[in-house]
């Protein structure tokens, strides 16, 4: 399978991730389009170090970070305590989250936490692969995921962390894989 075949095969995964990350279908597809054009143009310079899909995701992530830097969108950095607290509509079932609540909550996450969480949840990557794609240390990835999960839990109306509500924002130690 040539590089172009692999790029083409990755399009659905790139779109899925971009749609979740950007939360606007058109802007997400624009991001993927941009990523594909860059990848196609650079494919002869790419040295083949690692999977094509990881390389594509790095391009996508970097482009997304550029866009955020260029046009920061309000609303990402609202403190959790300041948010109106709406309980999830489905009560009782611990394993069930209201999807609309979750979608809204995802939109409140800082972009770095959102990109980290989606990188491990969507697509079945290993933790090490996700850290490599995001080009951050594993400890940083761990920390972002922990904070993202804690924030989602609060925003989707779950009761606060059963043991230590303030703990979620702490710095997890580095772990071995």
């Amino acid at each position: 399978m040539g590089v172009l075949d692999e790029i083409e095969a990755a399009i659905p995964a790139l779109r899925r991730y971009a749609h979740a990350l950007v939360r606007d279908g058109q802007r997400a597809d624009d991001l993927v389009q941009d990523c594909l054009e860059r990848a196609v143009a650079k494919r002869h310079a790419w040295r083949g170090d690692g999977p094509v899909q990881a390389w594509l995701f790095r391009i996508l992530i970097n482009r997304h970070r550029d866009l955020i830097r260029a046009a920061p969108r309000p609303g990402h950095l609202v403190a959790v305590e300041d948010l109106p607290h709406e309980p999830a509509t489905i009560g009782g079932q611990e394993a069930h989250l209201d999807l609309r609540d979750l979608h809204d909550a995802m939109g409140r996450l800082p972009p770095d936490q959102r990109e980290a969480l989606l990188m491990v949840v969507l697509g079945g990557r290993s933790f090490a692969q996700a850290a490599a794609i995001l080009e951050i240390p594993k400890g940083t990835l761990m920390s972002r995921i922990a904070r993202a999960r804690a924030t989602l839990r609060v925003l989707t109306g779950r009761s606060a962390d059963p043991r230590s509500p303030g703990k979620a924002a702490g710095q997890p130690r580095n772990v071995e894989t």
Partner: protein, 256 residues
């Protein structure tokens, strides 16, 4: 259970994300039996993952947007075995240009997409785009020639100075920079006393070996184009071919 024995959230996250050595993970799993809080936390994260997967489902692979499919198709056109080495870029550009023109040029310029024909296509397109402009046919007027030359030389990375075509009855209106697939190109427009306009397209990128004039046509609009070692040029106009040829020779002599 004392606090010291309790599983920390750091441990649980590492365990949950599969980022923990196998023996530590086995140890943690054994301790979960006595820690309902930890089990609830893990269940909550699993519920988040399930909900996120449902919220952002996999997209069907056969519904790729056309624009994305086009990017891949163009890249594949670039990969045909004959289009290797120095010609690879030129060939892809020519195919792209013909593709964009939607067969409009195909009549005269296909088959055999080459670097030179690519220049002709680009020159014809630029001509068609700007020659009809009444108010803004050029970006910089000939009256500001000095400024124009400095600007265009800088952008194109070579000395850019429009040839004098007065001998053929054409005077410079001015110039502009136009985009091309291989970078900025220079574009000059001239006009004769009757208001007839011709254009000169210059790409600071050439090819060794082929110095002969070539001819391309789209309807009444004709182009004579040539490639030098580091320059590709085309003159375009709706004028008799022999006049166009005289102009091309004059431009060629001055642009060397």
């Amino acid at each position: 259970m004392t606090d010291a024995n309790r599983l920390t959230e750091d441990d649980l996250i590492a365990y949950f994300e599969g980022a923990m050595p196998a023996d530590a993970a086995a140890d943690l799993a054994a301790r979960l039996a006595d820690d309902p809080d930890a089990r609830a936390m893990l269940a909550g994260w699993a519920a988040q993952n399930t909900a996120l997967a449902a919220l952002y489902p996999a997209l069907p692979g056969d519904a790729v947007p056309q624009a994305m499919a086009d990017v891949m198709a163009r890249a594949r056109a670039d990969e045909v075995p004959v289009a290797r080495g120095a010609w690879r870029m030129a060939a892809s550009v020519a195919i792209l240009a013909v593709g964009l023109a939607g067969g409009w040029f195909a009549r005269d310029l296909m088959p055999g997409a080459t670097r030179a024909q690519n220049v002709a296509v680009a020159a014809l397109q630029a001509h068609q785009t700007f020659v009809g402009e009444v108010k803004h046919p050029v970006e910089v007027l000939a009256s500001d020639a000095e400024q124009m030359n400095t600007w265009m030389s800088k952008r194109l990375g070579r000395d850019m100075r429009p040839p004098d075509l007065a001998a053929s009855g054409f005077t410079l209106l001015g110039g502009r920079i136009v985009p091309s697939a291989t970078g900025p190109a220079g574009f000059y427009m001239y006009e004769d006393a009757a208001g007839q306009r011709i254009t000169l397209y210059i790409l600071p990128d050439g090819a060794a070996g082929s110095r002969s004039f070539q001819f391309a046509q789209d309807g009444a609009t004709q182009s004579i184009y040539w490639l030098d070692e580091n320059l590709s040029c085309a003159v375009v106009g709706d004028i008799p071919r022999d006049v166009l040829r005289t102009i091309a020779v004059s431009a060629y002599d001055q642009l060397i």
